[in-house]
């Protein structure tokens, strides 16, 4: 009885998770070529990562396989995480979806698990212990890769949103002291705030005297945004600039009338061309065709 226990205890401690994992890793290294091949084939059959060529797929598969085995061996995920980020950075622009990435990692997990079944099919108890060691690690790996991919995607989306926001409200100088602010698309409260901020600072920075806000590309706006627009016009006046609003759609005109805007304060012109002409008049410019000028001069001389 005592002997049995004494025998059982060292046996169990021999087979700690670490040793089981290192046995597992040795097995995976040994069968690397076959398993990698099988995995790549199953990815193709499942029609995952169709954006990549077969060669690319194979080289990525090799790298992922080695990183995977290494993560199993060392129990640290930093290298794998970094690789997942790097991989995501490369494949996201090519239109690879989240489900494809999760799909291939789960496939690898299955391929490896199957090879374990095949190897230990004669020793069921051992198979169980091996799987006990393998499964948590494999799940963590799958988790790490998927989270890495999603994080990378979110980072890209955030960056793009930032870029779009900045590009969405350009303040352009067309002549000395004449600014135009073309607005295209829907104005949400955040964009409206940014628009005001950029316009007022633009007026200060370029010493703008007349501003043309062109709303041709805006189909409609709700009353709070319309109010904001009116406030922007008034704030610009406080800075000493005159605002001309052009291209008001019928829907926006109705909104402005509904909120009871003081039309004496709003300087509006039908289209952008008219607005720029009015602005030039206010600034004392006169724009004429050279031929017409010459003709007038010669007539005056003759």
């Amino acid at each position: 009885m005592r002997e049995k226990e004494a025998q059982a205890v060292p046996r169990r401690s021999d087979e700690t998770v670490t040793t089981l994992l290192s046995e597992l890793v040795a097995h995976l290294r040994e069968t690397r070529t076959v398993l990698r091949q099988e995995w790549a084939q199953r990815i193709t059959t499942a029609r995952l990562l169709t954006a990549m060529t077969e060669e690319e797929l194979f080289s990525e598969a090799t790298a992922v396989y080695d990183q995977y085995v290494e993560a199993l061996e060392t129990g640290t995920f930093e290298a794998l995480q970094a690789y997942a980020r790097n991989l995501s950075e490369r494949i996201i622009p090519r239109g690879v979806e989240t489900d494809e990435v999760v799909g291939i990692v789960l496939l690898l997990r299955d391929v490896l698990a199957r090879s374990l079944f095949a190897k230990y099919q004669t020793d069921f108890a051992k198979l169980n212990r091996i799987l006990d060691a393998y499964e948590p690690a494999a799940n963590r790996i799958a988790n790490t890769v998927a989270v890495g991919f999603v994080q990378e995607r979110e980072r890209i989306i955030r960056e793009q949103q930032e870029a779009i926001r900045e590009l969405s409200t350009p303040v352009l100088q067309v002549r000395e002291r004449l600014l135009i602010l073309p607005i295209i698309g829907v104005i949400d409260p955040q964009r409206a705030r940014q628009l005001t901020e950029q316009l007022l600072h633009g007026i200060r920075a370029t010493r703008g005297k007349v501003v043309v806000i062109d709303l041709t590309g805006v189909a409609a706006m709700d009353s709070s945004i319309a109010n904001h627009l009116v406030q922007t016009v008034e704030a610009s006046r406080l800075l000493g600039a005159t605002v001309i609003v052009t291209g008001l759609s019928p829907a926006i005109a109705q909104t402005l009338v509904n909120i009871g805007v003081d039309l004496g304060k709003m300087n509006t012109v039908g289209d952008l061309q008219g607005g720029i002409e009015e602005a030039e008049r206010l600034l004392g410019y006169r724009v004429a065709q050279i031929a017409a000028l010459e003709e007038a001069e010669s007539r005056a001389a003759g």
């Binding site: 901020e197 406030q231 008034e234 704030a235 406080l238």
Partner: protein, 116 residues
């Protein structure tokens, strides 16, 4: 804090250098209105560039100042309102109606010169 009032030809320039109390503002208003008559002034520039807040009392005092000066035969222009101050004022409904404004001192002088 007393606001210095500089005379430049036919114009008076009051450049506010720091935050003013309500009493300081009223004193500025009275001093300007008095000097407009005494010095045969045609235009007054109030420079608020260094103010980072303009509350309702300040706005009302500036408006009163401009209207009183107008009644005494001179024009007033407020210059140098900061972008953030401008938008905050508008949101509070303080739009200084009918009072001319300009970007800075230079613009203010140009404005007054153009209205002679």
């Amino acid at each position: 804090m007393i606001v210095p009032i500089l005379k430049q030809g036919e114009y008076l320039i009051a450049s506010i250098q720091s935050a003013l109390t309500d009493a300081d503002l009223v004193a500025l208003r009275d001093a300007l209105v008095a000097k407009v008559g005494a010095m045969r002034i045609r235009g007054v520039i109030v420079d608020v560039t260094s103010l980072d807040v303009l509350d309702s009392f300040a706005s009302r005092t500036l408006r009163d100042l401009a209207n009183m000066i107008g009644l005494r035969g001179a024009r007033t222009v407020i210059v140098g309102i900061q972008p953030e101050v401008a938008f905050a004022m508008v949101q509070l409904g303080l739009t200084l109606e009918d009072i001319p404004t300009a970007l800075d001192l230079e613009e203010g002088l140009l404005f007054l010169a153009s209205r002679r």
